[in-house]
């Protein structure tokens, strides 16, 4: 049903979504925790910054990334010092770009989830004798698992639909940077509507299933009432 090139693009898309969501979660969880622990001008500024990818056109992000990833930028020179070549037109570059692109989709659910864990409850259990690790294991981790899950799924689904940034920085190299969305674009450009239909339908069905599953899970968690 699918041609090898299409399989490759599909697998690459899923791999990109998984990897970037995983790293994003890992990196932003401490930040989201800090943001959830109160209000301040500093927090508002960081929040605004983190929400930017939601409102900026992908071309703006893509443009800055093009500059950043070009071989003679300070960023690429730093990478070269660490023995890594410039990120333009490479899968690693896409991972980094996707993380930026999906940032608000991770930080916001995490922040909301963390905010549900009352500081009073943490203080109470600290006073009862729990140390930071015990608080983490017994309170923070179990209570924020639903938020971590939502954040991961949202980021995953959002990355599946990534297009604009890839167009700007990734090129269209099969097996490296050719994602499903790019392939669909190509097919439409060459008026090959049959393939475009198939791939678009596939992405639509897949994304719907993932989101539907997420909402089902969230409902289940609410019904179980946090147990």
């Amino acid at each position: 049903m699918l041609y090898p090139a299409e399989w490759q693009a599909l697998l690459l898309t899923v791999k990109l979504a998984l990897l970037s969501s995983f790293f994003l979660l890992l990196l932003t969880a401490p930040l989201a925790w800090w943001l959830s622990r109160g209000q301040s001008t500093g927090r508002n500024a960081i929040n605004a910054l983190l929400t930017l990818p939601l409102v900026l056109p992908p071309t703006v992000l893509g443009f800055y990334l093009v500059l950043l990833f070009s071989p003679d930028s300070w960023f690429s020179q730093l990478l070269r010092l660490a023995g890594i070549e410039a990120l333009a037109f490479r899968f690693e570059g896409l991972v980094l770009a996707s993380m930026l692109y999906s940032l608000p989709f991770v930080v916001q659910p995490l922040q909301q989830g963390f905010a549900q864990i009352a500081q009073e409850l943490l203080d109470q259990n600290r006073a009862l004798g729990a140390n930071s690790w015990q608080l983490m294991a017994q309170l923070v981790w179990p209570l924020s698992r639903p938020a971590l899950f939502s954040a991961f799924i949202l980021s995953f689904a959002h990355t599946l639909g990534e297009f604009g940034i890839v167009l700007m920085i990734g090129g269209n190299i099969p097996g490296q940077t050719q994602l499903l969305s790019m392939l669909i674009y190509d097919q439409v450009e060459s008026l090959n509507y049959a393939r475009a239909h198939l791939l678009s339908g596939l992405l639509l069905l897949f994304s719907f299933s993932v989101l539907f599953w997420l909402y089902q899970q969230q409902q289940g968690q609410q019904q179980r009432g946090h147990k």
Partner: protein
């Protein structure tokens, strides 16, 4: 001197100025809503550090200006009117965790028996009534052998019969463990029945500090 406290705190329309020296074991705190009772308790517990200028307990400095002794080393437990429980843990897990976090915990089985918690052990906080939640929070606190217990209307949701039973147990644990107890309540009758000394606050000031009972060697105080 057991508990020495100097509070100086003001919010928009409220200011709290207190200088207290408390020596008895069982102290009632009385006053109208908004008289500063909760702030007093939280300041002692270390939950509202900006309210206290100085606090020391049994010769140990807890707070002096910027210096703050950590919550865990004070062993002072503040119990709020609405018990702070973990939504995802059963009653039994609350007791077990408190026991495992404590260096020399009280016997859990004994506490369960004394506070008649047996039928509640498998239940989650959302399945408990607010009175049962208060009972659980109190039992959980006692497991850790606190040095100071700060009750903010923390038995107010219990019916009279249960309250009497809980207070009777509390009295026994107090004599056994030797902790000091500050008890905020609106029920003057309760305070008179159990407390050796009452601190009466009015609009953030000390209205009256009254010993209620001729002290018979400190320990031999019993409610009638």
């Amino acid at each position: 001197m057991s508990l020495e406290l100097k509070l100086n705190w003001s919010a928009s329309s409220f200011s709290l100025q207190l200088d207290l020296q408390l020596t008895h074991h069982w102290i009632g705190v009385y006053g109208q809503s908004g008289s500063g009772k909760t702030t007093l308790l939280k300041a002692v517990a270390g939950l509202q550090p900006d309210a206290a200028e100085h606090c020391s307990f049994r010769g140990e400095l807890w707070q002096q200006g910027q210096y703050q002794r950590s919550l865990s080393s004070r062993k002072a437990l503040y119990l709020a009117p609405e018990a702070l429980l973990m939504p995802h843990k059963t009653a039994l897990q609350h007791l077990q965790l408190a026991s495992s976090w404590s260096k020399s915990p009280e016997d859990t089985a004994q506490i369960i028996q004394d506070f008649e918690l047996q039928p509640l052990l498998a239940l989650y906080p959302s399945q408990l009534s607010s009175g049962q939640q208060q009972k659980l929070a109190l039992a959980q606190a006692l497991i850790t052998r606190p040095r100071l217990l700060l009750l903010d209307e923390a038995v107010a949701h219990l019916d009279d019969q249960q309250k009497a039973a809980v207070l009777k147990q509390l009295k026994q644990y107090q004599q056994q463990q030797g902790f000091m107890l500050l008890w905020v309540s609106h029920q003057m009758e309760d305070l008179c029945l159990y407390c050796q000394e009452i601190v009466w606050l009015k609009q953030g000031q000390l209205q009256q500090q009254q010993q209620l009972w001729p002290q018979q060697q400190g320990q031999t105080f019993y409610a009638i």
